[in-house]
């Protein structure tokens, strides 16, 4: 006898419960098996009354589905639409694979004695600071010295492509959100979900959709995780532009396009840049997790450190990621500071 027998008896469903199934078809839990073995029915006091969950109801009526049917059903549903979904998504996301492959090839193909000075020079142009450029050159040299150069370049290549795509997609989405309150209302829950969903979770359906050998798998994972801040801050930045300046733009007969490129984007630039900085930082965080699904780079070493308990490898590669983060953060912040200085109010 189970606790909730009376529900099915009361509703006159006993026939449905017993007649339909061929006895106890569903797998039993360990405690059920033990009870069966010992042959005695446990006494359930009021204090221990179980919640009328699917499993408890299944105890009383075999025809009632167990709770594992929910997850199983979801899985079956996903597998049913999977093929249709991947015929649509595969061609759309193929350029991402190519971009990642090409970037990986390019970053590793260029010899170190061109790459390191080139990066230092780029930082110099962006930040106008020799100190930062020297720090960057020194960091890369140190990583190369302990033979982590290739891994570092792989990570850099992946971040380069993913952050670029995040900005290319995120800024227009943010602009569209700033123009329509309805779109903003619809997007905010989606963005919240993307930001709070544990990153491991969306790796699972992605593995089903794409092959693990394809670069776009980790590319999409990184982009989904990292695109949120740039969308949010573009939307916010444009909405925060001084109302009177927008009014002035209208009063002098600017078209929508002139207003967007001449007023709104330039004035929102500090916020957009802050979003880009956050996006780069988040893609760096995700590139480590994405090494679980074959993303190359320093994350692979971190993973090796965990799997094989190689303390030294794990720590050094972790430090390498920190160094990379500091470099990317400082250079984008320096660019941001320049934008800010140019448009004080």
């Amino acid at each position: 006898m189970a606790t909730y027998d009376w529900i099915f008896d009361g509703l006159g469903l006993r026939g449905w419960c017993d007649g339909d199934g061929s006895g106890s078809g569903a797998p039993m839990s360990m405690s059920d098996l033990m009870n069966q073995a010992s042959g005695e029915q446990p006494d359930v006091s009021v204090w221990e009354t179980p919640f009328p969950s699917m499993d408890a109801l299944n105890d009383a009526c075999d025809a009632f589905p167990q709770s594992r049917e929910v997850t199983k059903g979801l899985e079956r549903g996903f597998l049913d639409v999977k093929d249709a979904l991947s015929t649509v998504l595969d061609p759309i996301t193929q350029p991402l694979s190519w971009a990642l492959e090409y970037a990986l090839w390019a970053f590793q193909g260029v010899p170190w004695w061109i790459m390191i000075p080139l990066l230092a020079l780029l930082i110099k142009v962006v930040s106008r600071s020799w100190g930062l450029a020297a720090f960057v050159a020194g960091s890369f040299a140190a990583l190369a010295f302990i033979d982590y150069y290739d891994y570092t370049m792989q990570t850099l290549a992946v971040i380069f492509v993913c952050a670029l795509i995040c900005v290319a997609l995120g800024v227009p989405i943010g602009i569209a959100m700033s123009r329509s309150d309805k779109l903003q209302q619809a997007m905010i829950p989606v963005l919240d979900m993307l930001q709070t969903l544990p990153p491991f979770v969306y790796l699972i359906p992605l593995i089903f959709l794409f092959s693990v050998t394809e670069p776009k798998l980790y590319g999409i994972a990184i982009i989904l995780y990292a695109i949120v801040p740039v969308i949010r801050l573009t939307n916010l930045g444009i909405r925060l532009v001084d109302k009177e300046v927008i009014e002035a733009a209208d009063a002098f007969g600017m078209t929508k396009r002139q207003k967007l490129y001449g007023v709104q984007i330039p004035l929102a630039l500090p916020n957009i840049m802050a979003g880009v900085n956050q996006t780069i930082m988040m893609s760096l965080a995700m590139v480590v997790i994405a090494s679980l699904v074959s993303a190359p780079g320093l994350g692979v070493l971190v993973l090796r450190g965990i799997r094989n308990l190689e303390l030294g490898v794990g720590l050094i590669s972790g430090l390498g990621i920190v160094l990379l983060a500091v470099i990317l953060d400082r250079s984008t912040k320096a660019a941001l500071a320049r934008v800010n200085a140019a448009q004080k109010h």
Binding site: F252, G253, L267
Partner: protein
């Protein structure tokens, strides 16, 4: 009188979820407070009729919340009315398409803002040239024109600076230069000098009067400051709770206020400094012979009192363009300094 440059006819503006419903009540005679209490709609403007003549400064004055900023934004349709028409040079701008409206904003109307509203990422020169850049002018052209107007408002050599490097007064000069660069006949000024400190404000008022003497634009000026209104206005419109309380020539309003609200308003000003000889004098072209001198019709009473050294027995001939237009006795001068009560008749009628 010539056709007005801008004519506002039966303009209503109501803010809220169902303005058309509230409009019906407003047209049936409901005022701001009742409409808010009974129907939860804010009455922005109610039955506004104002004619603005070409080449004059029309000042719209009222306290905050009186709807003056809303009103000026209807003239270039930054705000669309709930009901009514705005005519600019014989065409109703409510019928304009977007493209035609933009054309009007670029060529016919320019605007100066309370908080300057300059573009912080552009130089002073580029800011001053905004109307021409928007219209797609060549760099050489707009550079020349903007430099000319920057020089005219007293900002020689400031072109390459950024707005945040200038003081408030200088930034508003850029705002005025920007409005002038568009070469439009109509200039809308929304509390243009209210954010400036008093001394700089006086400077800017003088600059505006000087520019106006030279350029003869149609200026619509919004202010909450009566002294400023009296100094600048050719035609004064006083707004309260979204309605026109009185409009007309400022001297006339001072002598014949038709509403307790206006009496309150004008009770604090220095009448001697604002009232002019031609307003107080007795009109006559005869020369009584025993006068002690001549004063100009536009002299303020303050200067007449100074001239008489406080002697209340004197009288003066009031001259306009070399001809006598009236006689001013010091007795009239002193009487005029006492604030008048609200005139019984002529409530809310244009003078």
């Amino acid at each position: 009188m010539a056709d007005p440059k801008i004519s506002i006819r039966n303009l209503y503006k109501i803010f809220g979820s169902d303005p058309q419903m509230a409009l019906k009540h407003a047209k049936e005679g409901m005022h701001k407070t009742e409409l808010l209490e009974q129907h939860r709609h804010v009455l922005g403007l109610r039955d506004i009729n104002v004619d603005m003549q070409a080449g004059e400064i029309t000042v719209i004055m009222g306290l905050s919340g009186s709807g003056k900023s809303t009103l000026i934004r209807h003239l270039n349709r930054l705000i669309d009315p709930t009901d009514g028409e705005v005519w600019v040079e014989d065409s109703n701008i409510m019928t304009y398409s977007d493209a035609r409206l933009r054309e009007m904003r670029r060529k016919k109307m320019s605007m100066v803002f309370q908080k300057f509203a300059l573009l912080p990422h552009r130089t002073v020169l580029e800011n001053a040239a905004t109307p021409m850049i928007v219209d797609g002018a060549k760099r050489a052209d707009w550079e020349k024109e903007a430099t000319r107007w920057l020089d005219r408002v007293g900002l020689e050599g400031q072109g390459p600076q950024y707005p945040h490097q200038l003081s408030g007064g200088m930034q508003q000069r850029v705002g005025i230069a920007r409005a002038l660069t568009s070469n439009s006949d109509i200039m809308l000024m929304d509390e243009a000098f209210s954010a400036l400190d008093p001394l700089i404000r006086t400077d800017m008022q003088d600059l505006l009067i000087e520019l106006q003497r030279e350029l003869q634009k149609t200026v619509v000026f919004i202010t909450h400051d009566l002294d400023e209104a009296l100094k600048l206005a050719d035609h004064l419109v006083i707004l309260k709770d979204g309605e026109v309380v009185q409009q007309g020539e400022p001297q006339h309003i001072l002598m014949n206020p038709n509403d307790p609200y206006i009496v309150d308003f004008i009770s604090d000003i220095n009448r001697a400094r604002v009232l002019r000889a031609r307003t107080v004098m007795k009109k006559t072209s005869e020369n009584p012979g025993d006068t002690s001198g001549e004063v100009d019709g536009n002299d303020t009473l303050e200067s007449v009192i100074a001239k008489s050294r406080g002697n209340a027995d004197l009288s003066y001939r009031v001259m306009q363009d070399g001809k006598q237009t009236g006689i001013l006795t010091m007795r009239d001068v002193v009487t005029a300094l006492v604030p008048t009560e609200a005139a019984e008749d002529g409530m809310r009628k244009a003078s």
